[in-house]
């Protein structure tokens, strides 16, 4: 308690079980790494506030019970030429290969249904970039209570049919369609309004390690079905 301001020795830090688990989860800082900020951060902070107290204890009365929620930001976006009152933008979301032991239980696109510009505002919705006949929306378990300015489209069935389980990197493309409410010239301001985190993908996962056969776990964690130390194995699973 006398050294609260001093940095803990590295060997102490690595002995903390939480840190060992976190270091398995997240690779070291890379050149592409950027700190979280803006609307995605506000969205996830609200999710966190509803799910856990400030000390990190999960709340008993939380509306959803999953092991992990990942917010994915679009890797690319493209604005289509305006057609009448409609302003459309496509967003590409990179989907990482499915991690062993994690089951997708919900997928949703979170977006802002109303965008305000200086002299006008837009009413928006989102759609997957797909033929109407292949669209099967819904299917997910309940998410968290959204902040007032946000809406969600549940695309669990669509993701599970089209993308999951996936073994290689793929891209989900969605389009954000906005309709102008007033007949004024928006100029190029709408591009900026749509480009700034107007929509992102939210994936909910459950960890299925507990139900995985022990032999499969051994292979997964050590790469050697015969040579694993059972005690070490148990620690890594935890």
């Amino acid at each position: 308690t006398n050294s609260q301001d001093a940095a803990a020795p590295a060997h102490v830090a690595l002995q903390l079980p939480l840190l060992r688990a976190l270091l398995q989860e997240v690779p070291p800082k890379t050149p592409q790494w950027q700190p979280a900020r803006g609307r995605p951060l506000q969205y996830m902070l609200e999710l966190y506030r509803q799910s856990a107290d400030p000390q990190g204890h999960p709340r008993e009365n939380r509306t959803f019970r999953v092991d992990a929620v990942r917010l994915v930001r679009p890797a690319g976006h493209r604005a289509l030429p305006p057609r009448g009152p409609w302003y459309v933008q496509t967003l590409d979301f990179p989907l990482q290969p499915n991690r062993e032991g994690y089951q997708l239980v919900r997928a949703a696109v979170a977006y802002r249904p109303h965008l305000r510009l200086s002299h006008s505002h837009l009413s928006c919705h989102v759609e997957p970039w797909a033929h109407k006949s292949s669209l099967l929306l819904g299917g997910g378990s309940p998410g968290f209570a959204l902040p007032e300015a946000w809406a969600e489209m549940d695309i669990t069935n669509y993701i599970q049919q089209q993308f999951w389980p996936q073994e290689r990197r793929r891209t989900l493309r969605i389009q954000v369609k906005c309709e102008q409410q007033e007949r004024t010239n928006l100029g190029l301001g709408w591009r900026q309004a749509l480009a700034s985190d107007s929509a992102f993908l939210v994936l909910y996962f459950n960890n299925t390690f507990d139900s995985m056969p022990q032999v499969r776990l051994q292979e997964l964690l050590t790469g050697d079905p015969a040579g694993a130390d059972p005690l070490l194995l148990a620690r890594q699973v935890r």
């Binding site: 939480l18 989860e25 890379t30 979280a36 951060l41 902070l45 204890h57 092991d67 990942r70 917010l71």
Partner: protein
């Protein structure tokens, strides 16, 4: 037949040294991880410390084996150690972090905070 009671530790009352849960907090800033751990700011793993008494009270949730091991230490062989003071129940922790890809991840980690202690 159990022999006569003797003091646990000379100069200390059993209440002061008996196995119990102790608070311990560390910040992610202290660990150099504040750049990618968004919440919480502090991690409180806590710890268990203290001696295990000769008579294991029910509040310590010790199994029958711990009681037997205590008796063996007392009556048969002092080389057999008495039970150790270790965590009994844990609670999970929820963490909000930034991944290398720029994604933001909320995740619950089981068994990360010691909630009570036992002698076993």
């Amino acid at each position: 037949q159990v022999g006569p009671m003797r003091s646990e530790v000379p100069g200390h009352s059993p209440e002061q040294t008996q196995c119990s849960l102790h608070p311990f907090r560390i910040s992610f800033h202290q660990l150099g991880l504040e750049n990618w751990i968004i919440a919480p700011n502090l991690y409180s793993p806590n710890y268990c410390k203290g001696s295990c008494p000769r008579v294991l009270r029910s509040g310590l949730c010790s199994p029958n084996h711990a009681i037997i091991q205590n008796l063996i230490n007392e009556l048969v062989d002092r080389n057999i150690p008495r039970p150790s003071c270790i965590p009994y129940k844990y609670t999970p922790i929820s963490v909000l972090l930034v991944e290398a890809s720029g994604s933001i991840l909320y995740k619950e980690y089981e068994d990360m905070i010691a909630q009570s202690c036992t002698c076993r």
